[in-house]
Symmetry: C2
DNA sequence: CCGGGTTGACCGACCGTTCGGTAGAGTGTA
DNA sequence: TACACTCTACCGAACGGTCGGTCAACCCGG
């Protein structure tokens, strides 16, 4: 994404409308910065790295951003925006707890697998934020956490939850989900569709009872044999 | 752990056997460095941070260590040693796949919960290692991964695995386990025993079939009510 | 010729690391 | 006992380098 290795520092084309509208350029900087920070880590990424990748000098990008920490905060906020939009809000409108849970799992995993959901990794670099920014992000993460936890509590009341503390269940779910962006490779052998299907099965049945998979229990031997080909 | 705030830079006592044997002091440095790096991250931790915490000058600690990267590698190797000793080796001697899986989950989680298993977090900072060191650590992690994956494959052959790709199952398990050290607080409300019990239930039934919890299905309403007190 | 966009030069702070030096305990010798 | 020497443990200072960030000047389309 956004590969621009042998590109001159500045596009010298005469152009009535400049190639970059200001806000587009800012967006571009955020996007490139996110990409680099995701793979190298926040601390290990220098402003020069970002400037080079974006085709400006370090001084140049300060025309668009306030500073490095602000960059991180903005990216984190954007990541949370996406989660809000794609996962939390749709889920909040679902009344049935079980359906809400599966939606959360499915939508969040889908985001990571299909969109550039690697941004989620940066959500772990909380220590690098100023206290104020850290509070903001923490509150948003907390809201998400509470949504899942309350969903598990509802499921417990319905007798659908396993004999587990909802908090432990919630953390376990978040662990599985967050981990995806660490191991999923777009060029790997497993297709997003297959991963998504299997992952939903794993995540949901981790916390819910009676998910023996009655519907799919047919032909287990055949499917197991098929699967052995892939592995090893 | 190892709190020594108001301790003078150097213990000036006359003592036939010095307070610190050299290897002890080195160990102490590794331990303190691990602690700080765990909570701040590798890059964000300066040698001065470590020196201050250990009660020496920055120059002084170079008497005991080779460098910062070496410090990280040594800590990672130690973490893997512990996993080898406490989890992998005991598990390798178990012939029954299901028992092996539960043992792995239980022992690894127990390590993180009871010993200072937060070191596991540092195992994610692979990019900071030299290529040679990175290869070493990666190989050890890979061996662990393969152990779990092969166990899941055995379980698939036995018809005990859910209808999932073993690789996805393995990653999900590692996600849940690794995540524990990010959220578990020793001074939190949940006891290690309770977490361990619930976590095993979650992790094992994430990948295994027919774990409806028949044995503990009694009194679900009462237990659910009890649990609601804790949360919120 | 005005002004937004961009630059190269540069700043102070801090990084990991090294080096010369030293306090003090141990050891050998007389 | 006294002195000379060695060795370990450690420190102060400084190294070369990079960091995030700033600024006066310039370019160029309007």
């Amino acid at each position: 994404m956004i590969a621009r290795s042998p590109l001159p520092k500045q596009a010298k084309l005469k152009n009535a409308t400049p190639i970059w509208r200001k806000e587009d350029r800012a967006d571009h900087i955020y996007r490139v910065a996110a990409e680099i920070m995701c793979e190298k880590g926040y601390e290990a990424t220098s402003m020069n790295d970002i400037a080079d990748a974006v085709g400006l000098t370090k001084a140049g990008i300060y025309h668009y951003i306030r500073g490095k920490e602000d960059l991180l905060f903005e990216i984190m906020s954007y990541a949370m925006d996406m989660v809000d939009q794609d996962v939390i809000h749709p889920a909040q409108e679902i009344v049935d707890a079980e359906e809400r849970l599966t939606t959360i799992v499915e939508r969040h995993a889908k985001r990571i697998l299909e969109v550039g959901g690697a941004v989620t990794i940066l959500l772990e670099e909380m220590y690098a934020l100023t206290p104020a920014h850290r509070r903001t992000i923490r509150a948003r993460k907390r809201a998400y956490f509470d949504l899942v936890r309350q969903t598990l509590e509802e499921l417990a009341a319905e007798g659908k939850l396993r004999e587990i503390n909802p908090v432990v269940g919630t953390f376990s779910l978040f662990g599985m989900i967050s981990w995806i962006s660490r191991w999923y490779r777009r060029d790997g052998e497993l297709s997003p569709q297959q991963i998504l299907h299997d992952f939903r099965e794993v995540a949901v049945s981790a916390v819910l009872r009676t998910r023996g998979g009655a519907a799919t229990r047919a032909l287990p031997a055949a499917r197991a044999a098929l699967r052995k080909k892939v592995a090893r």
